[in-house]
């Protein structure tokens, strides 16, 4: 379960409030979209949840972790429970597709036998079996994003966070990515999708949290993208 409790985050150097007393709860297994215009605070929610930044006020819980109180030394272990997908893919460019995936398992100390078994399975799931030996620079945008998704899910995390994962993709690849996210959700992982793509949100018909100027203005069980 994810809990944001009166979370406030200000970026002093910009003089702006990124999040203003934001509170919400997400149950295990939910598929939640966080929507809003650019600068509404979507990416800040993601950053705070993965521990890349700390809130100024409020508390953030993920499972048994109180994220805002985690020490730098606790972060590696904590992050292995979360898979993150970014708009700009953020793959290790000097490692092959196979190695990008195996790296996530190796840092978690998984045995080689398990790695050799898991990586091909996940690659098959995202349809990239034949690209295992390619480097990310040799792939198309859609393929890169599928590698990123495969990496995010390889540790079988409790939560997958996707921050504008379709921002750099054409419509065909966009739907490919959304379908994979839905599949991951069906397999039991919580999915948190930060997006400003109206069509995706409306088609999903899942829970939508709408942010405006750092505040939660709407939280609907089967929401739609309603931003003027």
């Amino acid at each position: 379960m994810i809990i944001f409790q009166h979370v406030t985050k200000e970026y002093n150097h910009h003089g702006t409030v990124a999040l203003d007393k934001v509170s919400f709860k997400i149950q295990h297994g939910e598929f939640v979209s966080i929507v809003g215009r650019s600068g509404a605070g979507k990416s800040t929610v993601v950053k705070l949840l993965i521990g890349e930044d700390k809130p100024d006020k409020g508390q953030i819980f993920f499972g048994s972790y109180e994220v805002n109180k985690l020490k730098p030394s606790d972060m590696p272990e904590y992050r292995r429970h979360i898979g993150v997908i970014f708009q700009e893919f953020r793959l290790l460019t000097r490692k092959t597709v196979f190695e990008n995936l195996s790296f996530a398992l190796e840092v978690a100390g998984r045995p080689q036998r398990e790695i050799n078994e898991f990586v091909p399975q996940v690659l098959e799931m995202v349809g990239l079996t034949d690209k295992a030996k390619n480097f990310p620079t040799e792939l198309s945008g859609g393929e890169r994003q599928r590698v990123a998704i495969a990496r995010a899910m390889i540790n079988r995390p409790d939560l997958i966070i996707a921050d504008e994962p379709t921002g750099n993709l054409d419509p065909l690849n966009t739907w490919e990515v959304i379908k994979i996210l839905m599949k991951i959700n069906e397999l039991g992982s919580t999915v948190l999708l930060a997006t400003h793509d109206k069509e995706i949100v409306n088609t999903l018909g899942q829970r939508v949290i709408t942010l405006e100027d750092g505040k939660v203005v709407r939280d609907e069980e089967h929401g739609r993208f309603l931003i003027g």
Binding site: P76, R79, L92, V107
Partner: protein, 301 residues
């Protein structure tokens, strides 16, 4: 153990895949290693040069022609008992004449003049060398002692005092300059290597943040870079040493003619294991330290 083998694997993989960057880092480190090795050789040459100058400084005490040999040998022993004295060589009147004859064997005029002599005009002497050139004045003072003075004809120190002092000043300057140059160039070599490795890591900083995002611990991020640094150090040490061998071979005869006491090639042959060990140690320490310091700023989460 599994983690360590993965760290080593990633380190070696990165060296291979970043071929150009690795090659340029190794090139810079080879230059640094050559400077370091050059400094060692410079110090050996410098020491030999200083030693050669020091060996040329001595005090000769000439004894009156009627001083018995026993007295001179007694003085020799007492001089050798002094802490400041490195050696005291006795040259008898006969020996002095032999030496003189040998030295001027080709000069007919002198040879003729010597043949006409009925007695040996040369005096017995003690050739005194100090452990430290600064101590010649102390030794000279000792020789001015009234009990010795009765037997001595002349002491060369007074005549050569200015030259000796100048030579001492030259030796001191050479030693000081050697230390300063060594510190300066060693610092330069370390800084150049450090900055090259730092730039290589900086160009990779985005990758480091990605590694953190997928849950890599600090040792998993840092480890491969330390392996890289260590490998760069090892390769640079080996290559620079191979480059050094012909350089030493080329320079040795020139240095030998300049400082006859110095045979660089022989020195190199006798101490190449130690020299290579120093070089290896220097390169690996620079490699590892540079990597670990440079990467530290990227390890904050």
């Amino acid at each position: 153990m599994v983690t360590l083998s993965r760290i080593i694997k990633y380190g070696l993989q990165a060296i291979w895949r970043n071929g150009l960057l690795s090659a340029s880092t190794i090139s810079v480190m080879i230059l640094a290693a050559l400077v370091f090795e050059g400094l060692i050789i410079f110090n050996v040459v410098g020491k030999s040069a200083v030693q050669s100058i020091q060996d040329k400084i001595d005090i000769s005490v000439y004894f009156k022609s009627n001083t018995p040999e026993d007295t001179i040998l007694g003085i020799k022993r007492s001089l050798e008992g002094l802490n400041e004295v490195k050696s005291a060589e006795y040259i008898s009147r006969e020996q002095a004449l032999e030496d003189f004859k040998a030295k001027h064997a080709t000069d007919d005029a002198i040879k003729q003049a010597l043949d006409e002599l009925t007695s040996n005009p040369l005096l017995a002497s003690l050739n005194v060398k100090a452990k430290d050139p600064h101590e010649y004045s102390t030794i000279a003072d000792y020789l001015q002692n009234p009990s010795l003075k009765d037997n001595t004809e002349k002491i060369t120190y007074a005549q050569n005092q200015t030259v000796i002092e100048r030579l001492i000043a030259l030796v001191d300057t050479l030693k000081g300059a050697g230390i300063l140059l060594t510190i300066f160039f060693a610092f330069l070599a370390v800084m150049v290597s450090f900055n090259t490795i730092r730039l290589a890591i900086f160009s990779n900083s985005e990758q480091l943040s990605i590694m953190r995002l997928v849950g890599a611990s600090n040792k998993f991020i840092q480890g491969p870079y330390i392996v890289e640094g260590c490998f760069y150090g090892f390769i640079s040490a080996v290559i620079s040493f191979v480059i050094l061998i012909p350089i030493v071979g080329f320079l040795s005869p020139y240095l030998h003619s300049f400082i006859p006491e110095l045979d660089l090639a022989v020195y190199f042959r006798n101490s190449y294991v130690l020299l290579f060990f120093y070089q290896l140690l220097f390169c690996i320490i620079v490699g590892i330290l540079s990597s670990s310091i440079a990467i530290r700023r990227y390890l904050k989460t």
